[in-house]
Symmetry: C2
Subunit: 258 residues, 2 copies
DNA sequence: TTCCGTATGTTGGTATACCATCATATCAAG
DNA sequence: CTTGATATGATGGTATACCAACATACGGAA
C-alpha cells in the first residue's frame, strides 16, 4: 500500500471517459446549447476528487484507514490545498470522516446506518420505478433493455465493479426518465457509503443470480406499465440485498466494517 | 451589502449554542463515553462553515449571488484556505454552485427541483412519522408536545426563522426517535436548499395557521399510535407547503428564484 | 460611429511556508 | 518492572505568495 500511486499526469482521457459532462449536456437534438464550445476547465481538484472517490468506493482505501494529507499529495501528485479541498467535499458526501485529533479517515459504516440507507433506497427507488412504470417512453424501455443485456453478459464474468456499474446505469435510467435527478443524486451518494457492502453482497453466489432476476422483474413490470408490480419487485430487490448485507456485516464488531 | 461583516472573533459561545456536538454526544445516562474530556477542537473552518451556511439559508446571500473568495475572507476574517474549503463543503451540500468561469455562487433553485425535494420529503417524512407513531415512547411524545407549544407561541409573532427552527425541531424529534439519523441528515440538507422557499411559504398568511394545524394532526396521530393517520397528515402538511411554494416560484422566470 | 486590439485589474487555481499540537519513543527515577 | 517526564517527529490548521485566465475599460483606426 505504501507504494500506491494515483498519479494524475495525463489523465485527461480518463476524465473524459467518466462522462463528467453528462449532467451539463442534454439531448443534442432538443438542446441548442449543445453548440457550446465548452472547453471544460478540468481542474486538478476535480480530477483528484474523482480519483479519490473512486479509490475509496473501490476499496483501495479501507474503512477506518487514515488518509494522511501529505501522503495523498505524493500519491496523487498535487499539493495539499487540492487534497484538503477534495477531502472537504468527500467529507460532506459522507465518504470521509474527520477523526478527532487524527485527521481524515475513510468513513466507517455500522449496520444500523447501512440498514437506514437500504430503507431510504426502498423509499426513493420504489417511487422512481413506479413513476417510470406509469409513463415510460419507448426510448427508456429500450435503454433499460440494453443495460440489462450488458448486465447479463457481465454477471457471468463475476466482476463485481462492472456489475455494480451496470446496476447503477439501470437505476440511473429509471430515475432520470421520471425527472428524479435529485433523488438519484441522493441514492448515488448513499450507494457510495455502502459500496463495500455492495461489492461484498455481489460476491455472494446467489446474489449474482437473483439480483439480475429481480431487476428483470422490475423491467418487465415497467414494460407492462404496471407500477404496483414494479414497486414490489424493487422492494424485493433491495430487501434481499439488505438481508445479505446484514448477514455479512451484523456479526462483525459492534459498529464497523474493516 | 458591501459593509457586511461576519467576524468570527470570540464566537465560541455562539458555536457552543449551535449544539455542534449533539451528533457526537449521546444520552449521558446510557453512554459512558460521555465522560470524555472532549476539548472540542473548534476550528476556524467549522465556525466559518456554520456562519456561511446560516447566512445563505437566512437569505443574507441571495441565490445566484457571487461569492467572491477574497471578499468572504474580509467579511469572515479568515484566510482563503478556510474559505475555499468551506465552499467545497457547501458545494457538496448543494448550497453553492460553481459557475463556470466565474467561481462560486449561491445555488439557484428551479421549481422542477423544488418539487422533487418536496416529493422526497414526502417519501422520507411519511416513513418517519409512521415509524414514530408505531412505537413512540412517552419521552418523545412529551418532547413533541413541548415543541408544539413553542411553535404556537412563536407562530403568533410571525417570525419566520423562529417558526422554521421549531418546525425543524419537531421533525428532528420524530426522525431521531425512530433511529432515522441518516434520513434526517438528508432532509436537513434538502431543506437548506429550499430555505428561501420555506421562509416565503411561512410568510403566507394562511400558512401560519394551517401549518401548525397539520403538525398538530401529526402529533395527535402519534399520540394515538395511528401510523396511517400520521402518514396522511404528514403528506398533507408537505403537499400544502409545496402547493404554496409552487404559487410563489412557478410564475417567476423560467428556472430560478432571485 | 463602430470595431478591434491592448492594457489592466480582478478572480480562481495551485503551491508552499509556518505553527501549534499531539503521539510516540526514549530514558531516568522509584 | 513500572511510572513519569522530556524530546522529537509527524500531522493538521492556517496564512500567504504566485500564476494563468478572464473580463472590462480604454483608445485608436476604419
Amino acid at each position: 500500500m505504501s507504494s500506491l500511486v494515483l498519479k494524475l499526469s495525463s489523465v485527461y482521457d480518463w476524465v473524459m471517459s467518466q462522462k463528467l459532462f453528462a449532467a451539463t449536456a442534454d439531448d443534442p437534438v432538443q438542446d441548442p446549447a449543445m453548440l457550446r464550445i465548452d472547453n471544460p476547465p478540468v481542474t486538478l481538484r476535480e480530477m483528484a476528487l474523482e480519483r479519490l472517490r473512486n479509490a475509496i468506493i473501490a476499496g483501495i482505501f479501507r474503512p477506518g484507514q487514515r488518509l494522511v494529507e501529505r501522503a495523498l499529495c505524493d500519491q496523487l501528485g498535487v499539493s495539499r490545498s487540492v487534497i484538503r479541498e477534495v477531502l472537504r467535499h468527500l467529507e460532506a458526501e459522507g465518504l470521509v470522516e474527520m477523526a478527532p485529533k487524527q485527521g481524515p479517515i475513510v468513513a466507517l459504516i455500522a449496520w444500523h446506518q447501512a440498514r437506514q440507507i437500504y430503507d431510504i433506497r426502498i423509499a426513493l427507488e420504489t417511487t422512481a420505478v413506479a413513476d417510470c412504470a406509469r409513463g415510460a417512453d419507448p426510448d427508456t424501455k429500450e435503454k433499460l433493455r440494453t443495460v440489462l443485456e450488458d448486465l447479463d453478459r457481465n454477471s457471468r464474468k463475476n466482476d463485481a465493479l462492472t456489475i455494480l456499474a451496470a446496476t447503477n446505469a439501470f437505476y440511473e435510467t429509471i430515475f432520470l426518465s421520471g425527472g428524479h435527478e435529485i433523488a438519484w443524486d441522493i441514492v448515488k451518494r448513499l450507494n457510495g457509503r455502502i459500496s463495500r457492502l455492495r461489492v461484498m453482497t455481489l460476491a455472494t453466489a446467489n446474489r449474482t443470480i437473483s439480483g439480475p432476476a429481480n431487476m428483470r422483474a422490475i423491467f418487465d413490470a415497467i414494460l407492462r406499465n404496471d407500477p404496483d408490480a414494479a414497486t414490489a419487485a424493487c422492494r424485493a430487490h433491495i430487501t434481499e440485498a439488505a438481508r445479505i448485507a446484514e448477514g455479512l456485516l451484523s456479526p462483525e464488531t459492534p459498529a464497523t466494517i474493516a
